[in-house]
């Protein structure tokens, strides 16, 4: 039994070590204004948590460099959702009840965003969503829920405009079986029908690594373009395997989530199969709409010694700037006053000037849609191909 005890002690020590290193606690003092951030720091989309952490660092440098808010230093309490709704709910529970944050921002999974928005609204705590795209989040028209990030309706609208502009006639639509995947699939199906584009639909398991079965069905259909709504690393496997079975480069893959095509290991994982792949993004070096965007880019390079790639670092930066502005204008941490300030927001963020919709009855209530870009990898370089006014090149097909 002595051995067992030593074994346990050893394990607990190692667990404690890894836990403290992986999830550093953020010291909180009374002289600070705390803002809650939720996002996936673990799980299959942990890369988003890394991007969020970078954006938080830059936002804190910015606001504390200006002297903070209401005469106090700003601190962020960043809680992990693991990309799982129940963990997201637990994170908000802690942020609101223990950390007493006046508002919460963040999250990236639609299922998590949906769960958290119910809870935040119940607690009357303003919640500004960065990257949960499901329409359901804002179409419920909750008073305390805002989204300063893409919604499925807005994204699909851009994609269809692009498909029409390029004259695509036949598409395969592959969607992961999640709130986001199935939601965006439904909207895309309706839009493809309206646009008279022939299509097939295929569902795929969210964490699937082997896509040969789905790809075989697509091969048989012989589309010009494959709209892949798969988030996480699964899309890397999808792209690599599509090339193995001979589907690409004859057909173009359009990746509808964005960041996975920008993650550092993208090229290692997909190899040359990544060439000519298209993806959606809200950020590109050549498309900087204002000085705030340029400052963000320069500060990122200065701080991290590399250019930003995952646009979700800018997404969290965006919602934090909006939160700072709301607190400043409300001159209070009261939930209702913050909602009022958010509804009147006209702050400039890297994606443009924020104006939340205030008319109830649609997905656009409390919604700010950042402009989206369609980018193609051409010889491992990003080329903006849509919309035309910011395009740096044209779509290349085989």
């Amino acid at each position: 039994m002595k051995g067992i005890r030593y074994g346990w002690i050893l394990l607990i020590a190692v667990a404690f070590f890894t836990a403290t290193i992986c999830y550093p606690s953020i010291s909180i003092s009374a002289d600070t204004i705390k803002i809650g951030v939720v996002g996936p720091r673990t799980g299959s989309a942990a890369a988003t948590g890394t991007a969020f952490a970078e954006g938080i660092d830059l936002a804190l440098d910015y606001i504390n460099g200006k002297g903070g808010l209401l005469g106090k230093k700003v601190e962020v309490v960043f809680e992990d959702t693991g990309g799982v709704p129940e963990k997201g709910v637990a994170a908000v529970e802690k942020l609101v009840n223990r950390d007493k944050v006046p508002l919460v921002v963040g999250t990236s999974h639609s299922s998590v965003g949906i769960a958290i928005s119910e809870q935040a609204n119940r607690y009357k705590t303003p919640f500004i969503i960065a990257e949960s795209w499901a329409d359901e989040i804002t179409s419920k028209n909750y008073k305390y829920i805002f989204r300063a990030g893409p919604c499925n309706t807005g994204v699909v609208s851009e994609i269809i405009k692009w498909l029409k502009a390029e004259g695509f006639k036949k598409a395969s639509l592959v969607a992961e079986n999640t709130d986001w995947g199935l939601g965006i699939k439904k909207l895309t199906v309706e839009a493809l029908k309206e646009a008279n584009i022939e299509f097939q639909t295929i569902d795929t398991e969210r964490n699937s690594k082997d896509h040969y079965t789905e790809l075989s069905k697509i091969m048989k259909y012989d589309p010009e373009i494959i709209l892949a709504f798969v988030y996480g690393f699964g899309v890397h496997y999808f792209i690599a395997q599509a090339n193995e079975v001979g589907l690409t480069p004859k057909a173009i893959i359009f990746e509808g989530a964005g960041p996975p095509s920008l993650w550092p290991q993208f090229w290692e994982n997909v190899g040359d199969a990544g060439n000519l792949e298209c993806f959606i993004s809200s950020m590109h070096k050549s498309a900087q709409p204002n000085q705030v965007a340029k400052d963000y880019w320069d500060n990122y390079v200065k701080k991290f010694g590399k250019e930003p790639s995952d646009y979700k670092s800018r997404s969290i930066y965006r919602v934090l700037l909006i939160a700072f502005d709301a607190i400043e204008k409300a001159n209070s941490l009261d939930g209702d006053k913050l909602v009022d300030a958010l509804e009147k927001s006209n702050v400039t963020v890297p994606s443009g000037q924020v104006n939340f919709g205030t008319e109830k009855g649609s997905v656009w209530y409390h919604q700010f849609q950042p402009p989206m870009l369609i980018i193609q990898w051409q010889d491992r370089q990003q080329t903006v191909i849509f919309p035309e006014n910011v395009a740096t090149g044209k779509l290349i097909r085989e």
Binding site: A19, C22, G49, T213, E268
Partner: protein, 288 residues
Amino acid sequence: MNSLFFMYLTNGIVMGIIFALSALGVSLIVGIMNVINFAHGELYIFAGYISYILSVKLGISFYFAIPIAILTIFIIGILIEESLIKPTYGNDMYSLIITFILSIVLQNFALLVFGPFPNKPPNWISGATNMFGLFRYGNQRLVSCLAAIGIIIIVFLLIKKTWFGKTIRAVSQDRETASLMGIDTSKVNMLSFGLGCAIAGAAGVVLAPIFPVTPLAGVEISLIAFIILVIGGMGSLWGCIIGGLIIGIVQSFGAAYISSGYKDIFGFIILILVLFIRPSGLFGRKAL
């Protein structure tokens, strides 16, 4: 019968062999030591990470990277057995809990050291092969499948044809009698655990070029391994092979003809059916 059918069948068999290799190490450890190693999947990913570091970061040829990775995992396995598993002998629950905690610790360690992104060693071979003029199939998958078959054969030969295999089987059948015959059962346990871990490592290095490793990739590997273990019968090596093939083929055809959106559920359906019909598994020994 069309080309799609043969494509689904081929992919099912290839995935099945890959699954079988992934489960073989767990089965060996259960069969000999009656220890369920929940950290099996994490040892798999660490082998993948080691081969990634050696081949990508240090530029070592995969011919050397692979044996180094497997040997490292073998040594780690022995260290785990000596420090964490050995003290738990006589109480299966302790070893189960301790390996479960170990798996969580290793996941977080991988996240800390390697980050959340997938890491992929380079392909051993590029391109794809036109299979009988019916469909194209990735060369790396075919080579990995052949490597998996090779490793499975080596493990079988080791267990069935060598002196070491005989001692392992003897301990597995009757530990006390084996001990009375002069076999050092502690050493057999240590080496068996190391061997089981090394097989997990071998699966990791063979599969990492196809399915890059992430800190949580081991969870799925462990899950499939345990499903195969139960379907095939606890500790049965042949059960592992048959169980792996069943899961691979059923998943492939299920995804093709029912829904690819719920691929993982087919394995569980087979598991439930087997538990209903033959609770000890297809090749498992019935309880006395």
